[in-house]
Amino acid sequence: MSDIIRRDPRAEWIARNRLHPLHAAMQKSDTRWMGPNGLIRKNPHALAAGFVGPSGLKRIDRSGAEQGGGQKRSAPETAVRLPLHLVEQPSHLVAVVPDMVGGRLGSHDRDVFGLARQLAGATGAVLAVVFGQLREDAFDTAGADRLLILEGDAYDGYCPEQRLLALRAVESGFAPRHWLLPDSRSGGGELGRRLAASLGERPATRVWQMRDGFCSSRAGAGREDLVQPTPRLVLASAECAEPVSDTRHEARQVELPAPVISHLPRMEDLGAVAVDPSQIPLAEAEFILSGGNGITDWNLFHRAAAILGATEGASRVAVDDGHMPRARQVGATGTWVTARVYLAVGISGAIQHLQGIGACEKVIAVNLDPGCDMLKRADLAVVGDSAAILQALIERVAAHRQGGRRDAA
């Protein structure tokens, strides 16, 4: 990167355009500087809101000559600090209860926050209500003006009744104008409906669009839309709105005015149950071990799947050759899988197969051919013989399990 000072016309333009979302970030922070012909210039906005110039007139220089262009443009642009949206005295509150799967905000949660920002407008505030341990610090960019954290042992595990009591306390303490929850299977759909039944509010469910005070929700089996004036309680689908992207919010912590009462749960959580991975539908499985034409020993493959605790999948060739049942085929004409980890052994990576694993997060591939497409798609590619590597993997996992047992003992 050379040290030549360059003008950045776009930054100058943004600095002049007060309606641009990045306007505030492009303002110079220094208030006095030497102008081009030796005069000391001042930034009246930065000095004081009501600055009066020497001639008694309020002076604003809109030429942009001293704004934006000053900084030297360097190649790795530092992350822009988004302008802060402050709501001191909110005219109303919009409460959002995100799912927080794994303690983090998911994309569905962010979409719901985007919708909440629309409902809050310029004068309202979005109140995020979250349960339990936080592993997330991005509430400011997600669009939360206020943050209420409900912590305690009572909210551990599955406890919809206790959470409902807490939400009722939020209702009486803050009286939000709207309640927004994600209509998801991972908690929001259930909690929202419980809240609706308990408050006696009729919610709009599966809402996918909100416009001009009306919201559209999918009805029935998805062949009809129900359009109604936006009610107080909204359960929104994924992609119901664009997530907040051009402002930063305060996420100021607030407290409940009164403590949450708790009572004996009528449902007792006895914990997760070990499921046989071969019973999990392929489309839902979290971890898939998939075999193709490169598998020479299918008994070894099944043993590996059993010890890894993986759901079995297969390429079409493996299915056509009769090594695996049809229901286990992954790909365009089989099942489109959503596994978090996909371990492909002896699969060449034909496009019909790759289509089916488009949604997988981590792909690990084992193949003899270093040039095949599966290895190119993989996050971890291993060139080698399937049988030898599966055997070694079985031994490694067995040693790990043994070690774990010895440690526990």
């Binding site: 919610p203 469910t205 999918r218 129900l226 109604q228 019973q279 979290e286 084992v366 070694a392």
Partner: protein, 257 residues
């Protein structure tokens, strides 16, 4: 478990593409679970029109009779069902999680539980045992996982697609079974006076918006190969070393239990 009094609530379904009336998928699963628990003692209740032919599909699953609380079309099923259940010895009520016709908000089980003052289990996958007025149930979670809960009787449970698949409906029993109509006070649904039902509009696909600062970055993001792994490659290593690398990734991702 033989003397357990089980009720399944069913609605009329609609085929997702043709819209033809049929048994609702999830409600049929509720009936299936009820049949496994109570056999022929299972009570099946619908609030609606007794002349609806689609109801016979439930009878075809091996039910001798089905109770219909008569309601005009588009009425609110809740008051009739509350009254019926409050006056019955029911200990366990099974429903689907979402109806396939009408609003399909999935609120009915929640409102019913609220009115009756019973606990509600959502996403029921199986009932393991019922003893001493307590039931051990399995709840279906996303990604095929299961959770075990202990609930007191009486309770309500809604099933979704995690419950066992419904048996086929046979023609003979469907003809032979009886639809028994019962009078009930009609209830109007206030929603339909403010809301309109219209054919579903296609949802706009969200474009992948790249909010990168510079044009060059946006261009790079737009032209990047979608399947560009950019991962690590191991070549010419021993099987043990390869297995170690794979094992470490699996451990990092937390999929090894």
């Amino acid at each position: 478990m033989t003397d357990l009094h089980v009720v399944a609530l069913v609605s009329v379904g609609a085929h997702p593409t043709s819209g033809r009336p049929r048994r609702a998928e999830q409600d049929a699963r509720a009936v299936e679970l009820g049949l496994r628990l109570a056999g022929e003692q299972l009570q099946v209740v619908h609030a609606g029109d007794v002349a609806d032919e689609a109801l016979r599909a439930y009878l075809g699953m091996g039910l001798p009779r089905l109770t219909v609380l008569e309601q005009p079309p588009r009425a609110d099923a809740l008051p009739a069902l509350v009254e019926h259940l409050a006056n019955s010895p029911a200990q366990l009520v099974l429903t689907g999680s979402q109806a396939e016709t009408g609003e399909g908000s999935g609120m009915l089980p929640y409102l019913l539980a609220e009115r009756l003052g019973w606990p509600l289990v959502v996403g029921l996958a199986d009932i393991e045992s019922v003893e001493n007025g307590q039931a051990l149930v399995l709840q279906a979670l996303p990604r095929g996982q299961r959770r075990r809960l202990r609930v007191r009787l009486p309770f309500l449970a809604s099933v979704d697609n995690g419950a066992p698949a419904a048996r086929q409906s046979a023609f003979g029993p469907a003809r032979r079974g009886q639809l028994q109509a019962q009078e009930s006070a009609p209830a109007v649904d206030p929603l339909l006076s403010v809301a309109t039902l219209q054919p579903a509009r296609l949802r706009p696909k969200r474009l992948k918006v790249v909010s990168a600062g510079s044009a060059a970055e946006r261009m790079r993001a737009a032209t990047r190969k979608a399947t560009g792994g950019g991962g690590q490659t191991l070549e010419g290593v021993s099987p043990q070393a390869a297995a170690e690398a794979i094992f470490n990734v699996l451990l990092d991702e937390g999929v090894l239990r």
